[in-house]
Amino acid sequence: MAQISVEGRDLVVEVEGMDKLWSLKSRLTIPLAHVRGATSDPGIVDEGQGLKLAGARIPGVIVAGTFRQDGERVFWDVHDKSKAVVIELQDDTYARLVVQVDDPRSTVELVEQARAQS
């Protein structure tokens, strides 16, 4: 699980609880200028993650950490795929983040509106 917030001109992703351990990340700070959008997308989890670079993957239980798929680095932190949100990035370490949030709908609106205003 992750908490997503906007601080100034940055999007902040706080990885919560034990997921910090599995994903080997506790906090990602991304300039809003690098954020292209957010989408609620449960189906992405079933498509697989590609090669694990760092982190943990137990199918059906947890996907957390950095993975490489189709030549792109993707950060994952998902237990419950129904709450997976995809945040598409550009000019960043990651091509996209796939994170589980408490309320996908409000997170998507938060990110999309922050982008529109940045």
């Binding site: 292209r36 959008g37 957010a38 989408t39 609620s40 997308d41 449960p42 189906g43 992405i44 498509e47 798929q69 189709d70 792109e72 995809v86 598409e88 091509a95 996209r96 998507v108 609106e109 999309e112 529109a116």
Partner: protein, 171 residues
């Protein structure tokens, strides 16, 4: 293995438009879009950023091309223009955009207003010379959308008529 068919950018927008028109904004999942557009999920995100990004691109195509073409076809045709426009699903994406996104997304609201401006003043009957009964002036965009809503409705189901008298008795 046969190479999967790839679509041109215009075809991608047209296919996505069909998806959103049939399923609505919320009701259309990325799974639905990936399947219909025959795109890799990663390519879809890379191209449009998000579902909202794709929807905005679709709505821009609709307002800039699809709707004006439909209006020209309706006004230039032999039939009543409003009747023509409200019979098919040409206006349904506009209804969906207005209802689902018009109150939360200012870019959608702006595009919806542009579409409404195009619909304002569509003549009620074709102005072609063969139709002597042509009326001067046109109907407002909201009246045309109202007519489309009415046409989309299924016929009333028997036994579900609302009765005013029962309500009055209860008071």
């Amino acid at each position: 293995m046969a190479r999967p068919k790839t679509f041109s950018p215009e075809q991608v927008l047209r296919l996505a438009m069909a998806c959103f028109t049939a399923g609505g904004y919320e009701g259309t999942s990325i799974d639905d879009l990936v399947q219909a557009l025959n795109l890799h999920r990663g390519s879809l995100y890379k191209e449009f950023g998000s579902k909202r990004g794709l929807f905005l691109a679709v709505l821009q195509e609709y307002v800039g091309s699809t709707l004006p073409t439909a209006i020209r076809a309706a006004v230039g045709g032999p039939d009543d223009a409003v009747e023509h426009l409200t019979t098919g699903s040409d206006l349904d994406l506009l209804l969906i955009a207005a209802v689902e996104r018009g109150d939360t997304d200012s870019q959608v609201a702006t595009l919806v207003r542009q579409a409404l401006a195009q619909l304002d003043g569509v003549p009620e009957t074709s102005p072609s010379p063969s139709h002597r009964k042509s009326r001067v002036g046109g109907r407002s965009a909201t009246a045309i959308l109202g007519a489309r809503l009415d046409r989309r409705l299924l016929p009333a189901t028997e036994g579900y008529e609302h009765s005013d008298t029962t309500q009055e008795e209860g008071i």
